[in-house]
Amino acid sequence: MLGVPDSYLSFEKRILKRKGCRNSKIKTSFFKKPQRTISPNRMEAQQPKTLFDKIWDRHVVERKEGYPDLLYIDRHFIHEVTSPQAFDGLRKRGLPVFRPSQTIGTADHNVPTINQHLPIADKLSAFQVAKLEENCREFGVELFGLGHEKQGIVHVIGPELGITQPGMTIVCGDSHTSTHGAFGNIAFGIGTSQVEQVLATQCLLQYRPKTMKIEVNGTLARGVTAKDIILYVISQISAAGGTGYFVEYAGSAIRSLSMEARMTICNMSIEMGARGGMIAPDETTFAYLKGREHAPKGAAWDAAVEDWKSLASDSGAQYDAVLTFDAASIEPMITYGTNPGMGVGVSKNIPAVAAKSNESEMAKSLAYMGLEPQQSLLGKKIDYVFIGSCTNSRIEDLRQVADFIKGKKKAPDVNVWIVPGSKQVEAQAIAEGLDRIFREAGFELRQPGCSACLGMNEDKVPAGKYCVSTSNRNFEGRQGPGARTFLVSPLTAAAAAVTGEIADVRQMI
């Protein structure tokens, strides 16, 4: 392998190269062998464990009284906004990246979504993206940068490349890292100081969070999607209801979801304050991963699947909290306020006060949104529709929207942006002819990036305007200073796009 640049090799090969291994037996054992729990005493070993406990315990390098656990990190994603200061930190300390093959970079938060082949017009953005390229080159980190055929939102590309796998610990300097938990792993967002720690040591000091099980049972009604499930749960427990917890989603309604829909659920775990969310891997997970670029192959695949099957929570495992919801009682959801906990069924009126909120907060939110308590949202005129973000920008989301709008046109006064989550999603959409459906409906299909989810680039919603958005945050100014956001599913967004107002998609399918 001498002379082959690291970036040409798969992660596995690079790790082996780094470890100086040639022996295929070692290769199998290093990657695929079920990892041992760290020094469990007998009692512990016999106690039923949750999925979370199993993965956490496998990754504890050291546990010491009075210290947080020293946790090993398998995969680390970085992007242009939260990494430059971390690389600077390494430089100041004269440190290399400890395990460069376990870190993957992409440019997503701050990239334009039109004319990506041209130099970035905004000087600061251009500098930040260039800095990422420079840092990755200098420190030997693989980068799917702007223009790369695999570039995209970090939480979209990890799964689609098969880098995200069950049983891992995964971090990124981005709170929606929880998305990856859909594959049955411990994935959570970290700050830049911690990005630096992972770059320097492949480890983090972490307190073990409490665990919460959220069970959703039953069947969803037509027109109700994964996004509605998670918006519903958050509306019930509030934007702080999960703080201090790591969530495991379970129940028949969750089991029946596709991988992409499961990612939508786990993605928004952070919006209830939880550190992350996870779903035990099953046949749906394995079918999704099989054959993906970085997924194990051949015998290694079989060994991996066998290990992954052991990751389900044991029966009788204890959680610190358990919540149960009925899927049948969920309707298409919409938020009306300025945190994701302020949501209602689209046919319901805005409540007098949101769950676990108070009057003054409610009044402040509604004043910002230009809405009144107890008002119905149906028929409310809207100005923008944004279909994108790591919550809902995957191919299934785009297919669902295309299917719904086929033969329809967007309302005349509404701007509709569809921003695919990655270059691969974009290519797939074009291959399936979805781009034509979008064009004919007057929707603008843009290039991949975070876009109007956070309004860091040019894709901002003007002050006072209403945007129906498939993203995950409706904070004040999130989509642009003064912008007013309604969070919804892709289907409800499509319904708003064609009617120009908030509509109940169930009446339209």
Partner: protein, 193 residues
Amino acid sequence: MSFKKINTTCVPLPIENIDTDQIIPARFLKATSREGFGENLFRDWRYLPGDVPNPDFVLNQKTYTGEVLVAGKNFGCGSSREHAAWALADYGFKVVVSSFFADIFYNNALNNNLLPVQVDEDFLQKLFQTIAADPKTEVTVDLEKQTLEVPAAGLKTGFDINPYKKACLINGYDDIDYILSRREAIEQFELVN
């Protein structure tokens, strides 16, 4: 830089669920260094359109100054951006008091010598009332003793902090120094697993 004890007036922000997009809006995250974020702290609350300081916002009022920010429940929710902690520290805050902190923010703050002090809701409300009644009220935050005191009002409470993190703050260490010292254990772990 280490932190032990401070005695200062407070800036009250009695709003709940203050998210990191309010603390530092995304459009100011384009910088590649850690400095200067204080200028844009609470940007969209602090300035009206046209960059005119909003006279109603507390940071623009001379009445309230100090190194302790007292904020409503669930402070720092939302994005993981450490820029929020940098902005608060860069502006000059040393302590944030709230009845509840979002996890990631809490850790980011600790990693930047900004002490998050979690108190119960009742104490927080009393603190808000005391500051409103007399903006010159001083509080004492003692990290070693893990106490927050308002001598003039006879208010006092303890607060929790992990002993490891406390030692880091008092001695000015950070996590990397510690984790680097565990390198052998990490390499051993990689071999076994």
